[in-house]
């Protein structure tokens, strides 16, 4: 028993050890493609962790997180291109605007539960995409926004930047989840009515989870914009490439688990990139097949299935 306690204490350090090891990698590996892969994995991990807070721990599955991703991306870019605000501040503003837009979205959608909620967020994300697409004077519409100058000019910069963001995200998530708030989230997930009956103000906590989730998703949107230099409404508000991808990553890894998003992100990024080099046109098809296979055979995700065996 004592050994178990020791182990669980030390377990908390594992994510940071991994990130520490990751930060040492560039000293040995100069291959930019590998750095790119790691950046992608971390990007999707953070997205997965954010989604997981709302979907996995609070039980509110959203199929429209692209809304926050896109809002974040556009905030950072528009602040810079139209307002001259430096991209550093733009990233923080992106998180804030993601969080801000999540409030009305939550207010409307939290009236619904389960699959209705999931799809209503999707519909609102589509509304945001349409607004971005048609409000050409403000957002440049389908032309998109090209960033000539971005935060970093080397991949290495982005590499350490995202490791930093990952550390912050993990710390905040872990902190929240072990506090009372985290247990309120879990209570809402298990039985929302019972939670409400026990005196938990479910709407407030659902909104809280959503706001935090949207904040980090927005930051990732801005990161993405800086990393890839170009955004348009179809890319950042995409249902399939962003919203569904986030859900897939967490479900594959293990919804409601801490490690799920990280493992899911690793698997999905590696498989997508692997297939992209071999079958470029069929890659989306493989993606669809992957989704179906995961749901059929690994419904609890990788981590969930392992947990059940223990």
């Amino acid at each position: 028993m004592l050994k178990l306690e020791e182990f669980t204490q030390k377990r908390k350090l594992i994510p940071f050890i991994i990130l520490l090891m990751l930060s040492l990698i560039p000293l040995f590996i100069k291959n930019e493609y590998i750095l790119h892969l790691i950046i992608l994995i971390l990007l999707w991990s953070i997205l997965g962790i954010s989604w997981n807070l709302l979907g996995g721990y609070t039980g509110q599955v959203s199929f429209g997180h692209a809304a926050f991703f896109g809002v974040g991306a556009y905030t950072a870019c528009l602040f810079y291109v139209k307002g001259g605000i430096p991209l550093w501040l733009g990233i923080i503003a992106a998180g804030i605007s993601g969080a801000l837009i999540s409030i009305p979205i939550g207010a409307i959608c939290f009236r619904l539960r389960g699959p209705y909620f999931a799809l209503s967020v999707l519909a609102l994300a589509e509304v945001l995409r349409l607004i971005t697409l048609h409000w050409k004077s403000f957002t440049e519409g389908a032309v998109g926004i090209l960033l000539i100058e971005t935060i970093f000019s080397t991949k290495l910069g982005y590499y350490y930047f995202i490791i930093g963001i990952a550390i912050i995200t993990i710390i905040i998530m872990a902190y929240l989840l072990q506090k009372r708030t985290g247990y309120y989230f879990r209570a809402i997930r298990e039985d929302e009515d019972a939670a409400e009956a026990l005196g938990i103000f479910t709407l407030r906590y659902k909104l809280f989870a959503l706001i935090i989730s949207a904040f980090f998703t927005g930051i990732m949107g801005a990161f993405f914009a800086n990393y890839t230099n170009y955004i348009d409404p179809y890319i950042v508000f995409s249902i399939g490439d962003v919203s569904i991808a986030m859900v897939l990553i967490v479900v594959l890894g293990g919804i409601g688990t801490f490690w799920g998003p990280l493992i899911g992100a690793t698997i999905v990024v590696l498989i997508s990139e692997g297939f992209r080099s071999f079958f470029s046109t069929a890659s989306l098809l493989i993606y669809g097949v992957l989704i179906v296979l995961v749901i059929l055979f690994l419904p609890r995700g990788v981590v969930g299935s392992i947990q059940r065996k223990i």
């Binding site: 599955v61 669809g288 097949v289």
Partner: protein, 292 residues
């Protein structure tokens, strides 16, 4: 504001709405019986449209005749998908989001198979009556659209008869009301859900054939119409067939009015706007779940 144009726009909207209602009917039937939201619904429409197109292109079959092929084909497709992919996860009591993800995955597969087989080109079916119009007094209506509406109406009527007057229909209604009680009554709910999914798919496959003369097909069209189907169903009330009709007609009218008086490109956005308004003020839908 010429009153003739207004009336014409509204009537066109109603005609298109009939088609939207048919699409929504399939989704609401599936949801009412199985509590599954079929995110591949638009892709079934796409399959129906491609069937119609290729029958026309290769064999010269008139789109309206191709309904006779697309209905059974999509019925089969629906049955197979339900039996082998969807039913297992319902039985395993998978969480709701897994079911949605599964149908999303199926939709992705269908879209990309179509992409690989048929290329991303837009295809249309042009018949001698594609651009024909018919005059009612001073109102000019598109003939194919009118036919679509009449046929949708007919199909809905047949469906109504089937659901209300046959034994299988009664079983479907029973499972929709309370699947446990239905099972206790001796109804084989697996068989019923399989049949229902098939019917839902067949309905939207028929809609595909009806849609071909007035629209165009390309692999990604599924996504747009899944969303439209969802709007129709939520507008009317999930699980309610009358709701699907009301929702479809509402969406059709709102879209055509928007296209005529505001802007062509924003008409999709208007549908969403109405959708959001309904969500805020009457989330159970305009008709609600009071009747099947």
């Amino acid at each position: 504001m010429d009153i003739t144009i207004l009336i014409q726009t509204i009537v066109s909207g109603i005609l298109v709405g009939g088609l939207y209602a048919l699409i929504g009917l399939g989704m609401t039937l599936i949801f009412g019986v199985m509590r599954i939201i079929n995110l591949a619904h638009g892709e079934f429409l796409m399959v129906g449209m491609y069937i119609c197109f290729w029958l026309f292109r290769l064999l010269g079959v008139d789109p309206y005749l191709s309904i006779l092929i697309s209905i059974p084909f999509l019925f089969l497709l629906g049955i197979i998908l339900q039996r082998y992919l969807i039913l297992p996860i319902i039985k395993a009591n998978a969480p709701g989001e897994n079911q949605i993800l599964l149908t999303a995955g199926i939709g992705l597969i269908l879209t990309n198979v179509a992409l690989l087989l048929f290329s991303p080109n837009y295809y249309t079916v042009l018949t001698h009556y594609s651009n024909a119009t018919i005059l009612f007094g001073r109102i000019s209506l598109s003939l194919p659209l009118l036919w679509d509406f009449i046929i949708s109406f007919g199909i809905t009527g047949i469906l109504y008869y089937f659901i209300m007057k046959t034994d299988i229909g009664a079983s479907i209604r029973a499972v929709a009301q309370n699947s446990d009680a239905a099972q206790l009554m001796g109804i084989n709910i697996d068989r019923i859900t399989i049949i229902t999914f098939g019917i839902g798919a067949a309905l939207v496959g028929a809609a595909g054939s009806l849609f071909m003369p007035i629209y165009y097909v390309f692999p990604a069209i599924g996504e747009i119409f899944t969303l439209k189907a969802f709007i129709v169903v939520v507008l009317g009330g999930m699980g309610s067939a009358i709701g699907a009709l009301v929702g479809g007609l509402t969406l059709g009218v709102v879209e055509t009015l928007g296209a005529a008086y505001i802007s062509m490109s924003l008409k999709d956005g208007l549908g969403f706007l109405v959708f959001v308004l309904v969500l805020i003020f009457k989330p159970s839908g305009l008709v609600g779940k009071t009747r099947f």
